[in-house]
């Protein structure tokens, strides 16, 4: 009666999702550092490394489809399959955002940088990487408590992202500095999205643990946690 093959396969997919989470977090960390440290080698490695994320994502996707078609999972198994499907897509998007950040270095390397903004980008990168790792740890440890930390961790990211507009606006007098700043605004926006993806993953894990899906933040209702955010 125990469905050994099915549960082995489900376990394998969860391990792959954890590996995808590590790759995505590493990509964001490296992309941020590439921008803050002007490290073109690191930027190229992020762009090249995205193929690995995409491969893993596609493998997870086909694995989930196969389980749904062949094994008809139910109850907690069904929820885990759904979580893997959704979270892998979130992590694939995180990888794409890391590439977006890494590519910004190429078009800004000859422009004048602003140290305050560079520091803020670095700070945002550190927080969203920590958010990703926390969301993935919440899944590994099956911890609702860790899930619920994510909205609070996201608050400073949203604040820094909003503040970025004002910092960039200050550069308006110098066209080259402004050009650089507008690209940094895009990087900031990409990192802010990574933070949202991490919250999305925590919501998925919360669904796995409780059986009820709820959004931690709701951007369409001002006054909620996400009122500052996207």
């Amino acid at each position: 009666m125990p469905r050994a093959h099915f549960h082995q396969e489900l376990e394998r997919l969860e391990h792959e999702l954890a590996a995808l989470g590590d790759l995505a977090a590493t990509a964001v960390r490296s992309a941020t550092r590439a921008v803050t440290d002007h490290d073109e080698v690191l930027a190229r490695s992020v762009i090249a490394g995205d193929d690995d994320l995409d491969r893993l994502y596609l493998d997870l996707d086909s694995g989930v489809i196969a389980l749904l078609a062949l094994q008809a999972p139910v109850a907690a198994d069904l929820r885990l399959v759904s979580v893997i499907l959704h979270s892998s897509l979130h992590l694939e998007r995180v990888g794409d955002q890391a590439v977006n950040v890494a590519k910004i270095l190429r078009v800004t390397r000859d422009l004048p940088a602003n140290p305050t903004i560079v520091q803020q980008i670095g700070e945002m990168g550190d927080i969203v990487v920590e958010m990703l790792l926390t969301a993935m740890e919440a899944l590994r440890a099956r911890s609702l408590e860790l899930c619920l930390r994510l909205p609070t961790m996201d608050d400073p990211v949203d604040r820094l992202n909003r503040n970025m507009h004002f910092e960039v606006a200050k550069l308006a007098g110098d066209p080259k500095a402004l050009d650089w700043g507008m690209h940094m605004n895009l990087a900031s926006r990409a990192l802010e999205r990574v933070g949202d993806n991490a919250v999305d993953i925590a919501e998925q894990v919360s669904f796995l643990l409780t059986g009820e899906f709820r959004e931690f933040t709701d951007a369409s209702h001002p006054g909620g946690v996400a009122a500052d955010g996207d």
Binding site: M1, P2, F6, H7, V74, A75, A76, R79, G211, E212
Partner: protein, 295 residues
């Protein structure tokens, strides 16, 4: 015909708490029902015994009208025994007895004044293996009504029952042919037509598809969804996907083993909307069973 012969209500309650003179009690007309999902069965503290052996213990659940309720659980969990308690089919087994209460539209089904034949007319049963009589297709369907003294248009009743069982088009030209010449799936639909012909209220199904191929199974499942417009269906199935596909509510039974005596007894673990049972069951024993981690 009433379950209990009608009497004048003298307000006297007998020793068993039965209202001695209570006139009883067909099922209410549907448009008279106050609640949209009225209860057909209200089972409380039901245990079923074969001699000293207690097959199921303390079953408490209700069955709602015009719903399909699936009974699932491992072998020996008492789900078939429980099903047979609902139309007193276990009465036919020597030494079989029940404790507790089965109320059918408010009537105590085991009240000594209740006529078990009338119970089985109102609460039909379709068995695991199709069991048509070795008679013609027509006579199989007409059998029950004839015995019950049906004095209406028998041909119309037979045709209507075969149509309702989604079999008419396949057999209308060979009604005098032997029922045993039909395929397994057709025989099972014939048994459903035979059950319908006595104009029941409830149809009990004991693994009705386990002897059928997937296409015949799907036809029966489709038919079940059509039949609940008029009937209430309770199905025992070993196929959890079948329970998930066809039923509105699912009751999960399991086996408890007494450590001292080693005796195995069936118990109900959880009854809920089928969607809840298969996405987020409340009891970890249900979770273990439906996800295949049982045992």
């Amino acid at each position: 015909m009433e379950l209990i012969e009608e009497r004048v209500d003298d307000g006297i309650v007998d020793d068993d708490g039965h209202h001695a003179g209570r006139p009883v009690l067909g099922r209410p007309e549907r448009d008279e029902l106050a609640e949209p999902a009225a209860e057909v069965f209200d089972v409380a503290g039901l245990s079923a015994f074969y001699g000293d052996f207690r097959a199921v213990r303390d079953v408490t659940l209700s069955i709602r009208e015009h719903e399909i309720t699936a009974l699932i659980g491992p072998s020996g969990c008492g789900k078939t025994t429980f099903l047979r308690c609902l139309n007193r089919l276990n009465d036919l087994i020597e030494d079989a007895r029940v404790q507790g209460q089965v109320r059918y539209h408010g009537v105590d089904l085991y009240d000594p004044r209740v006529d078990p034949v009338e119970v089985r007319r109102r609460i039909g049963m379709v068995f695991q293996k199709p069991n048509p009589f070795p008679k013609s297709i027509y006579d199989n369907v007409a059998f029950g009504p004839r015995i019950a003294g049906f004095d209406g248009d028998l041909e119309e009743l037979v045709e209507g029952s075969l149509r309702r069982a989604a079999l008419w088009d396949e057999v209308k030209d060979k009604l005098k042919g032997s029922a045993l010449a039909l395929s397994g799936g057709q025989q099972q639909r014939l048994c459903i037509a035979r059950a319908i012909a006595t104009r029941p209220d409830v149809i009990l199904m004991d693994e009705p598809c386990s002897a059928l191929d997937p296409i015949a199974t799907q036809r029966i499942e489709d038919l079940m969804r059509e039949l609940i417009e008029d009937y209430t269906i309770i199905i025992v199935t070993h196929n959890m996907q079948q329970a998930a596909r066809v039923s509105d509510r699912t009751a999960f039974f399991t086996v408890e083993v007494d450590e001292a005596s080693g005796q195995r007894t069936g118990v109900v673990v959880e009854v809920d909307q089928t969607y809840a049972i298969f996405t987020n069951p409340s009891d970890e024993r249900t979770e273990a069973y439906v996800t295949g981690r049982f045992g």
